[in-house]
C-alpha cells in the first residue's frame, strides 16, 4: 500500500502543493533537454548524410572547445575582447573544417561502402586519436571559457531561470532554423538530402559524395563547438566534456537517428522526463536514477515505435 501511495499519490500531491516548484522543475528539464539536443544534433547530421554513427562526437565537442580556449589564451590580452572572441571562433571553425577534410580523406574514403558497425568502430579510433592529440596540444587543465555569456539568474516570480540556459536554448533554436533552411532551400542542402536518401543515386546525378561528406562533418564540427561552449561554460573545458556523448544516446534513440526535429523533441522529452522522475518519484528513495531512467523512457517509446519517434519507417522484406 505504501508503495502504491509513494508511486501514484505522493508525487502528485507534491506537484499540486507547490506549483512554482513544478514549473521550475519543468523549465530546468527543458533547459537540460536543449543541452542534450545540442549534442544529439551532431550525431544526427552525420548519421543522416554518411550513415556513420559517430562515436567521436563527444570528443569533437571537447576538441573544439579546447581549441577555442587554447587560441584565446594564445592571443592574450593585447587585443580588445570582442575581436579576440571573433577571431578565435573563426579559427576554431577553420580547424573543425580542416578536421572534417582529414576525416573524409583518411577515414571515410578508404572505408566507403562498409557496414555500419565497421564505420562505427573507425570513429572509435578517431576518438582515441583526438583525445590524445587534444591533450597533447592544449594540456589537461580545466580551462575557463570566457565569451562574455551571461551567467546570472533571473527571478521570475519565484522561479529561477538561468540566463546561460536561455542563451543555449536560443542558440539551439536558431541553429535548427538555419539548418532547416540550409537543408531545404540551398543547392548543397538538397544534394545532402539526396545523399542521405541513396548514395548511388546521388552519385549518378553528379553529386560529389566526398564534397558532401566534408560539408556535413564540418557542420557537425561546428555544432560540436556550440555544444562544447555551452557545456563548457558550466563545467570549464576539461576531458569530462567528451562524456556528454553518453547523455545524447537516449535522445538519439528516442528521436530517431535520422531526424533533426527528433533530436530536439527527444532531448526535451528526456530532459523533462528524467528531471520529473528524479525530483518527484525517486527523491525519497535515494535517487540518482536519471541515467537509466532516460533509457527506460526511450525503451518504452521504442516498444510502440521501433524506429524512434521520427525515424524512417522500417520496411522488412525477405
Amino acid at each position: 500500500m505504501d508503495f502504491f501511495q509513494a508511486l501514484l499519490i505522493t508525487p502528485f500531491v507534491i506537484m499540486w502543493e507547490d506549483p512554482l516548484f513544478l514549473t521550475e522543475t519543468l523549465i530546468k528539464g527543458l533547459m537540460a533537454g536543449v543541452l542534450y539536443s545540442l549534442v544529439a544534433l551532431g550525431f544526427v547530421l552525420i548519421f543522416k548524410a554518411s550513415g556513420v554513427f559517430n562515436f567521436a562526437q563527444g570528443v569533437f565537442a571537447l576538441f573544439a572547445a579546447l581549441t577555442l580556449t587554447g587560441i584565446m589564451d594564445m592571443m592574450g590580452d593585447g587585443l580588445p575582447k570582442p575581436l579576440v572572441i571573433i577571431i578565435a571562433l573563426g579559427l576554431t571553425v577553420a580547424v573543425m573544417v580542416l578536421l572534417a577534410v582529414l576525416v573524409e580523406r583518411f577515414v571515410l574514403r578508404p572505408l566507403v561502402n562498409q557496414e555500419l558497425i565497421i564505420l562505427f568502430m573507425a570513429t572509435l579510433g578517431l576518438s582515441y586519436v583526438l583525445e590524445g592529440a587534444g591533450d597533447l596540444m592544449w594540456g589537461s587543465d580545466v580551462k575557463v571559457i570566457d565569451l562574455g555569456l551571461p551567467t546570472d539568474v533571473w527571478d521570475v516570480g519565484g522561479v529561477f531561470v538561468e540566463q546561460l540556459d536561455l542563451v543555449a536554448a536560443i542558440t539551439a533554436g536558431s541553429m535548427v532554423a538555419v539548418l532547416a533552411v540550409f537543408f531545404n532551400k540551398t543547392r548543397i542542402g538538397r544534394a545532402l538530402r539526396a545523399v542521405a536518401d541513396d548514395h548511388q543515386a546521388a552519385l549518378s546525378v553528379g553529386i560529389s559524395l566526398q564534397q558532401i561528406w566534408v560539408i556535413v562533418w564540418s557542420v557537425a564540427g561546428i555544432v560540436a563547438l556550440v555544444a562544447g561552449i555551452m557545456w563548457g561554460s558550466k563545467s570549464g573545458v576539461q576531458f569530462s566534456l567528451s562524456l556528454i556523448a553518453l547523455k545524447a544516446l537516449p535522445v538519439l534513440i528516442l528521436g530517431g537517428f535520422t531526424s533533426i526535429p527528433g533530436a530536439i523533441i527527444g532531448g526535451l522529452i528526456i530532459g523533462v522526463g528524467e528531471k520529473v522522475a528524479e525530483v518527484f518519484w525517486f527523491d525519497l528513495h535515494g535517487g540518482a536514477v536519471e541515467n537509466w531512467f532516460a533509457y527506460m523512457l526511450a525503451l518504452v517509446f521504442l516498444m510502440f515505435r521501433p524506429q524512434g519517434l521520427f525515424g524512417d519507417k522500417i520496411i522488412e522484406r525477405v
Binding site: 537540460a32 591533450d135 589537461s140 570549464g236 576539461q238 569530462s240 525530483v279 540518482a288
Partner: protein, 440 residues
C-alpha cells in the same frame, strides 16, 4: 593465437632489454612508484598532485643529495585514474630498482581498495593520504595501509563541529537540516555512516543527494536542494562534479558560506569556472594553502631556478600542489625514520612500514621541515594509522583568487570515529580470514 604470441614475445624481449639497461645503475637509491593521472577525466586534479610530489623529491635530491644521502628515484606511471591500468602499473613497478618499491601512493580510492590485499602480501606500505579506505586506520587489521593525517570520517565529524560553532553551539544543531551532495561511488558514500550517527546524536536531519559519475548534469540535485532548503550543504565531489555543483549552487543562489566541500572539492580548479559567484565557498583541508613556507621557497630555489620543475612556477603553492608535496614529505620522513630504526640506509618496503608507524610530528619537526604553520602536530602508531590530525576549513576568496583558512584547527570526534573504524575493520577481517595482530 600465433600472431598474438609473437607480438607478446617481441614486447617481452623489448621489456627485458630495457630492464637490462636500467639495472646498470650502481648506487643504492629509493624507488618510489607514483601512480599518477595526468590524463583522463580527473587530470586537472592529478597534475598538481603529481607535480608537488615530484618537485619535493627533486628538491631533496638537489639540496641534500636525497634522503640521508641516498637518492630518491620517483617513477611515474600514468593510470588515467583507471583501476585496471593501475594494477598493471603496480605490478610493473613494485620490484623496480634495487630497493623495490619502498612506498606506494595509489591516488584513487578504487585503486587503493584493489591494492590493499596485494601490497600487504608484497610487504609494500600504502600511503593513501586522506583518501582510500577509512577503516584502514585500524593498524591491527591493515598493517600495510596508512591514511594519516586524518580521514573522511574524521573530516565529516569536524564539519559538524564547525557547523555547530557557526550556529552558536552544538545544541543549536537540533532541528537543522544538512544535505550531503555526493559522488555516487564508494568514495562519495564514505561520510554517510558518520553523518547518520551524528544526525541521531545531535538531532539534525540529514538529506542524501547522490550525483552519478561524471556529474556534468546536476539540475535535479540542486532542484531538490532548492525545495528542501537545507541549512548547510556538504559536498563529497570529485572532478567535473565539483565545478558544476558550485556553478549550480550559485544558480539557485545558495549561500556559498554554508556550502562546504570535502578536501578533494576545494582546489583552485574547482572554483575557477564559477568565477566571482564562487566567492565564499568553503572546503575542508588538512594543511594550509599558499606558498609562504620555507619548503616551497626551497623548491623554487633548488628545483625551479635550476629548470627542473615539473610544472608551472606560478602554480606552486596551489592547494593540490601542496597536498602532493605533503605526501612526498611524509614518504621521505617515513624512509628517514625507517633508516633510523633499522640502522641502515638500505631500507625496503617492509622497513618503511615500521618507519610510517613510528612517525610523529611536533611543531619543532615542522619547523625543521620548513613547514611552520602548515599543519598541526600528529602522531601515527601501530594501532592508529590515521594519526587523528585536526581539520581546518578554508574559504575561497574570488577577488584575490586564493584560499584562506577561516577556522581554527578542529579536532575530530575521535570517540565516535574510532568506534566506527573498529566496527568496519572487524567486518573486513572476518570476511577475509585475517587475524588482527596485537600491537604491544
Amino acid at each position: 593465437m600465433k600472431l598474438n604470441k609473437l607480438v607478446l614475445g617481441a614486447a617481452a624481449a623489448a621489456v627485458m632489454a630495457s630492464a637490462g639497461l636500467t639495472s646498470i645503475a650502481s648506487a643504492y637509491e629509493y624507488t618510489i612508484p607514483q601512480l599518477v593521472y595526468r590524463t583522463g577525466a580527473y587530470a586537472p586534479n592529478g597534475i598538481p598532485l603529481a607535480n608537488g610530489y615530484l618537485d619535493y623529491m627533486e628538491m631533496l635530491n638537489q639540496r641534500d643529495g636525497g634522503i640521508n644521502g641516498v637518492k630518491v628515484n620517483v617513477i611515474e606511471c600514468e593510470t588515467g585514474y583507471n583501476t585496471k591500468v593501475s594494477v598493471e602499473c603496480y605490478e610493473n613497478l613494485k620490484g623496480e630498482g634495487e630497493s623495490g618499491a619502498v612506498i606506494i601512493n595509489p591516488h584513487s580510492t578504487g585503486v587503493t581498495y584493489a591494492l590493499i590485499p596485494k601490497a600487504t602480501e608484497d610487504q609494500i606500505p600504502i600511503l593513501s593520504m586522506g583518501y582510500g579506505r577509512t577503516s584502514a586506520a585500524d593498524g591491527t587489521v591493515f598493517p600495510y595501509v596508512f591514511n594519516f593525517p586524518t580521514t573522511y570520517w574524521s573530516q565529516a565529524s569536524a564539519f559538524i563541529k564547525y557547523v555547530g560553532e557557526r550556529e552558536g553551539g552544538m545544541e543549536n544543531l537540533k532541528g537543522k537540516k544538512i544535505a550531503l551532495v555526493y559522488h555516487n561511488s564508494a568514495y562519495g558514500k564514505e561520510p554517510i555512516k558518520t553523518l547518520e550517527v551524528l544526525a541521531e546524536k545531535y538531532g539534525f536531519s540529514f538529506l542524501k543527494l547522490p550525483v552519478d559519475h561524471p556529474g556534468q548534469e546536476q539540475k535535479a540535485t540542486w532542484l531538490q536542494v532548492r525545495r528542501n532548503k537545507p541549512d548547510w550543504v556538504f559536498m563529497w565531489g570529485w572532478g567535473v562534479m565539483n565545478q558544476v555543483a558550485i556553478k549550480e549552487a550559485a544558480a539557485i543562489r545558495y549561500p556559498m558560506d554554508r556550502f562546504i566541500g570535502v578536501w578533494w572539492s576545494g582546489s583552485e580548479n574547482d572554483v575557477a569556472p564559477a568565477g566571482a559567484s564562487a566567492n565564499g565557498y568553503l572546503a575542508g583541508t588538512m594543511h594550509a594553502p599558499g606558498s609562504d613556507f620555507q619548503v616551497i621557497r626551497d623548491i623554487k630555489k633548488y628545483v625551479y631556478d635550476a629548470g627542473l620543475g615539473s610544472g608551472d612556477r606560478d602554480r606552486v603553492g596551489e592547494v593540490l600542489y601542496n597536498r602532493g608535496m605533503l605526501e612526498a614529505i611524509f614518504s621521505a620522513e617515513a624512509i628517514r625514520k625507517a633508516a633510523e630504526i633499522h640502522g641502515t640506509n638500505e631500507v625496503r618496503g617492509v622497513h618503511v612500514r615500521d618507519g610510517l608507524e613510528a612517525l610523529s610530528f611536533s611543531e619543532a619537526d615542522f619547523t625543521r621541515l620548513g613547514l611552520e604553520g602548515f599543519m598541526e602536530p600528529f602522531a601515527v602508531s601501530c594501532e592508529d594509522h590515521e594519526g587523528g590530525g585536526p581539520v581546518a576549513i578554508q574559504q575561497w576568496n574570488a577577488s584575490e583568487g586564493k584560499w584562506v583558512i577561516v577556522s581554527d584547527w578542529i579536532e575530530p570526534m575521535h570517540d565516535i570515529v574510532r568506534g566506527l573504524v573498529k566496527e568496519d575493520s572487524a567486518a573486513y577481517a572476518k570476511e577475509n580470514n585475517i587475524t588482527p595482530r596485537t600491537c604491544s
